[in-house]
C-alpha cells in the first residue's frame, strides 16, 4: 500500500485538493447533471410551457405569439377534453391499482419465501419482458383478444361462449396492466427485501398474527415501493398514445392521442402544449406527494 500512502500522481493530487475543499468537489459532482437537466430538459419544458400561451392563426396555420389563455380556457371548459382527461386519469389509476394487486404477492414471495436461486430466476423473469419490444407485446395482445383470436379459440374449445373484449377499453386495461407490471414488481420487491427479517419475527413474538403483522408492519414499510411503482405505472399509462391506437376501440382516445393529433395534425402546438399541462401538473403533484413518503429511495 506504499503507493496509496504517498498518494502521488495527478489523480492523487486532484483527489487531495478535492478532499481539502469539499465545496469544490461537490460542485464538480453537481455541475454536470445540473447543467444537463437544466440546459436541456428543464429549458425544453419551459419552451413548451410558454408555447401554451400562444395561438395559431386559423387561416395560415402559423403560430401567433400573442399571450392568451384561450387554449387553457378550451381545455378547461370543453366537455370533450374533460371527458378524455378523465378517461385517461381513471385508466391510469385503475392500471396502477391492478398492478399493485398483481405485484405485491409476487414481490413478497420473491423477497421472503423464495431461496436465493429461485429469487434470482424470478428477478430475471420479471425484467426480461422489458427486453422484448413493447410494441410487439401490445400487438400480441391484439391477436389474443380479437374476435377469432387465441382467447376465443381457447374459450370455444372449452365449450364456452366467446368474449368480445377486442378493441374496447377493457382490452386497454388488460394490456396496460400487462405492459407496466414489471415496473411495479421491482420497486415493491426492493422495498420488501429491505425489511429486516427480525421485524416480522419481533412482531409475531409480540403476538401479532398473520394479517396484523401484514397491516401494521409489512404494508407501511413497503409503502415507498408501492408508491415508487405507481409513479411508473401511472405516468407511463398517462402518457401513452400507441396502445389506445393499437388495442382501443371507438371512444378510447387518451390525452396523448389528442396531444399527438394536435402536434402533428393540426400543427397546433400551443393547444397541444396547453393540454399537455394536465398530465404535467398531475405528475408534479403526484411526485411531490410521493417524495414525502420516501418513494424516491426505492425506485
Amino acid at each position: 500500500m506504499a503507493h496509496a500512502v504517498s498518494g502521488t500522481g495527478r489523480a492523487g493530487r486532484l483527489g487531495s485538493l478535492l478532499w481539502r475543499r469539499p465545496g469544490l468537489s461537490l460542485a464538480g459532482l453537481v455541475l454536470p447533471p445540473v447543467a444537463w437537466m437544466g440546459l436541456i430538459y428543464i429549458a425544453a419544458l419551459a419552451v413548451l410551457f410558454i408555447a401554451a400561451f400562444w395561438s395559431v392563426d386559423d387561416f395560415t396555420g402559423e403560430i401567433v405569439r400573442n399571450w392568451t389563455f384561450a387554449n387553457f380556457q378550451e381545455v378547461a371548459t370543453s366537455p370533450i377534453y374533460q371527458k378524455i382527461a378523465l378517461r385517461t386519469v381513471a385508466m391510469a389509476a385503475l392500471v396502477t391499482l391492478t398492478d399493485a394487486i398483481l405485484a405485491f404477492p409476487m414481490a413478497y414471495f420473491m423477497a421472503r419465501i423464495a431461496g436465493p436461486r429461485l429469487r434470482l430466476a424470478l428477478i430475471t423473469a420479471v425484467v426480461l419482458p422489458l427486453w422484448s419490444s413493447y410494441l410487439a407485446r401490445v400487438y400480441a395482445w391484439r391477436l389474443i383478444l380479437a374476435h377469432d383470436g387465441v382467447l376465443n379459440w381457447a374459450l370455444r374449445g372449452l365449450g364456452l361462449p366467446g368474449a368480445e373484449i377486442g378493441y374496447t377499453n377493457t382490452a386497454m386495461w388488460i394490456v396496460f396492466s400487462y405492459i407496466w407490471l414489471p415496473f411495479m414488481i421491482m420497486p415493491v420487491y426492493a422495498a420488501l427485501e429491505r425489511i429486516p427479517a427480525n421485524y416480522f419475527e419481533a412482531s409475531q413474538d409480540l403476538g401479532g398474527r398473520g394479517m396484523r403483522t401484514f397491516l401494521k408492519v409489512v404494508l407501511p414499510l413497503s409503502m415507498p415501493g408501492l408508491v415508487a411503482g405507481s409513479i411508473f405505472t401511472f405516468s407511463l399509462t398517462l402518457g401513452d398514445y400507441i396502445t389506445p391506437v393499437l388495442v382501443g376501440g371507438p371512444g378510447s382516445d387518451f390525452i396523448g392521442n389528442v396531444v399527438y393529433a394536435n402536434v402533428g395534425v393540426a400543427n397546433n402546438i400551443p393547444f397541444a402544449a396547453a393540454y399537455a399541462t394536465v398530465p404535467l401538473v398531475l405528475m408534479a403533484v403526484y411526485l411531490w406527494l410521493a417524495r414525502r413518503v420516501g418513494a424516491f429511495d426505492v425506485m
Binding site: G38, A43, T60, Y167, V245, G249
Partner: protein, 382 residues
C-alpha cells in the same frame, strides 16, 4: 440549483419569441441545372403500400440512392412529418390533394422543374397541372396515382352486395363496422347527406357551412355506437376483417387487395352515391438535402412500369396512361378494371380530397375550416 434551470428557461423563452420566422409563403423555384450524381440517400414519406420492395429495390440498385421509408396513414401525419424537426428531415412525400396546399402555403415544399421529368408530358391532361399541386405555373407536386375510397365487405358474412353507403350508417351490421380515424371522414358523411338530404344544400363535400357540418356530425355521432373501431392504420382494418371483428367498412382498395392475398373473401365497390378519393402527388421538401436522388426517384416512379406496379399493388389508377399495357402485362384486364382506358369520365365521379378552407369557392367566408373539422371529429369520436 433551481436558479440555473430557471435562468436557462427564461433565456430560451425570450429568444424563442424572436427567433421563429414570421409568416411562411410558397417557396420560390431553385431548379437544378441537370440531374447529376446522386447523394446516396433519399428519405421519403409514403402511404402504406407506396414504397414496396418490388420497385424500391431496383431503384436503389439503379441509382445508388439508398431509400429510407417512413409510412404515414393520413394526410395530417404526412404534413407533420414534413415539418418535423423544422423541416428537411424528409426529401419526398406522396401527398394527397388535401395535404398539398397546406405544404405549399406552409413553405414546406419547393417547385419541381418538369423539364427534368420527361414522362410528365405523357400524363393525363388534367393531372399535369391540377390546381392542388400547381400554383401560378409552378409545379410544386408531380401527379402520381389516384383512386376512390371504397365500401368493402366480407362476402362470406354478407351475401347480398351492398350498393349504398347506407350500409355503414344503419344498424344491420352494428358492432361490425369500421371507418377511418380521420377528420376527412366528415366529407364521406357529407357526400352521403348530399344525396340523401338534398334540403341541406350541400354541393361540395369539402365546403360545408356550420349548419351542414353540424348535420354531418349528427350523422356520424349516430354511427359511432355501430363502430367496432376507427382504423388509424391500413393494417388495422386488414386485421379487423381477418379476425372477424369487422365485416363491412370504408376502405382503400389496398386493403381489399391485401385481404384477398391473405385469402379473406372480401369485395369492394364505389356505391351509388359516389365516393371520396385521392389524387396523390410527389412533393420535394424545401430543405431537401438529396435533390439529385429525389429527381432520379421522380423520374423512376413516373415511368410506365413503376406506375403500373404501384397501381396494381394498391388498386388505383396511374397518372401516366402509357402504363396501360404494362398493367395488362402484370394482370390481364387491369387497365380496364382501373379505368385507365377511359379515365376522364371515371375521374369526374370521384370527389377528390381537398383541405376544407374557411373561404368557399363562391368567395363567401362562411365555410368551415379544417381546424373546425378536426374539433368536430374529436367530438364524434369522444
Amino acid at each position: 440549483m433551481k436558479t440555473y434551470g430557471m435562468r436557462a428557461a427564461m433565456v430560451a423563452a425570450l429568444s424563442l419569441s424572436m427567433a421563429l420566422p414570421a409568416v411562411a409563403a410558397p417557396v420560390k423555384p431553385n431548379y437544378p441545372k441537370a440531374i447529376g450524381k446522386g447523394e446516396g440517400e433519399l428519405n421519403i414519406v409514403a402511404w402504406e403500400g407506396y414504397a414496396q420492395d418490388d420497385w424500391i429495390k431496383p431503384f436503389e440498385k439503379e441509382s445508388g440512392c439508398h431509400v429510407n421509408r417512413k409510412y404515414a396513414g393520413s394526410s395530417d401525419e404526412m404534413v407533420a412529418l414534413m415539418r418535423s424537426g423544422g423541416g428537411g428531415q424528409y426529401d419526398l412525400v406522396s401527398a394527397s390533394g388535401d395535404a398539398t396546399l397546406r405544404l405549399i402555403y406552409g413553405g414546406d415544399v419547393q417547385p419541381l422543374d418538369v423539364k427534368l421529368i420527361p414522362a410528365w408530358k405523357d400524363f393525363l391532361p388534367n393531372l399535369q397541372s391540377p390546381p392542388y399541386n400547381t400554383l401560378k405555373g409552378l409545379h410544386y407536386g408531380l401527379s402520381y396515382e389516384w383512386g376512390p375510397n371504397v365500401l368493402m365487405w366480407n362476402a362470406d358474412k354478407i351475401k347480398e352486395a351492398p350498393t349504398s353507403w347506407s350500409a355503414i350508417y344503419d344498424k344491420t351490421y352494428a358492432g361490425k363496422i369500421t371507418v377511418p380515424d380521420n377528420p376527412i371522414q366528415i366529407a364521406d358523411a357529407a357526400l352521403y347527406l348530399m344525396k340523401t338530404k338534398p334540403a341541406l344544400g350541400i354541393t361540395n363535400p369539402y365546403e360545408l357551412t356550420q349548419k351542414q357540418l353540424d348535420a354531418a356530425v349528427v350523422l356520424l355521432k349516430e354511427q359511432r355506437p355501430l363502430i367496432k373501431k376507427y382504423w388509424a392504420l391500413a393494417s388495422d382494418e386488414i386485421e379487423l376483417f381477418k379476425n372477424g371483428d369487422a365485416v363491412i367498412g370504408a376502405a382503400w382498395p389496398y386493403q381489399t387487395n391485401a385481404l384477398k392475398a391473405d385469402k379473406v373473401n372480401v369485395m369492394d365497390t364505389v356505391p351509388s352515391e359516389g365516393a371520396t378519393g385521392w389524387a396523390d402527388s410527389w412533393m420535394l421538401s424545401a430543405k431537401s438535402k438529396h435533390v439529385m436522388c429525389a429527381y432520379k426517384f421522380l423520374n423512376y416512379v413516373s415511368s410506365p412500369k413503376v406506375q403500373a406496379q404501384q397501381a396494381i399493388y394498391f388498386g388505383e389508377t396511374p397518372a401516366n396512361p402509357k402504363a396501360c399495357s404494362e398493367m395488362d402485362k402484370i394482370e390481364a384486364g387491369s387497365c380496364e378494371k382501373y379505368h385507365l382506358n377511359a379515365p376522364a369520365s371515371y375521374y369526374k365521379q370521384i370527389h377528390f380530397w381537398q383541405t376544407p378552407l374557411p373561404t368557399c369557392t363562391n368567395g363567401k367566408r362562411d365555410c368551415t375550416s379544417y381546424g373546425d373539422w378536426q374539433k368536430a371529429w374529436q367530438r364524434v369520436k369522444g
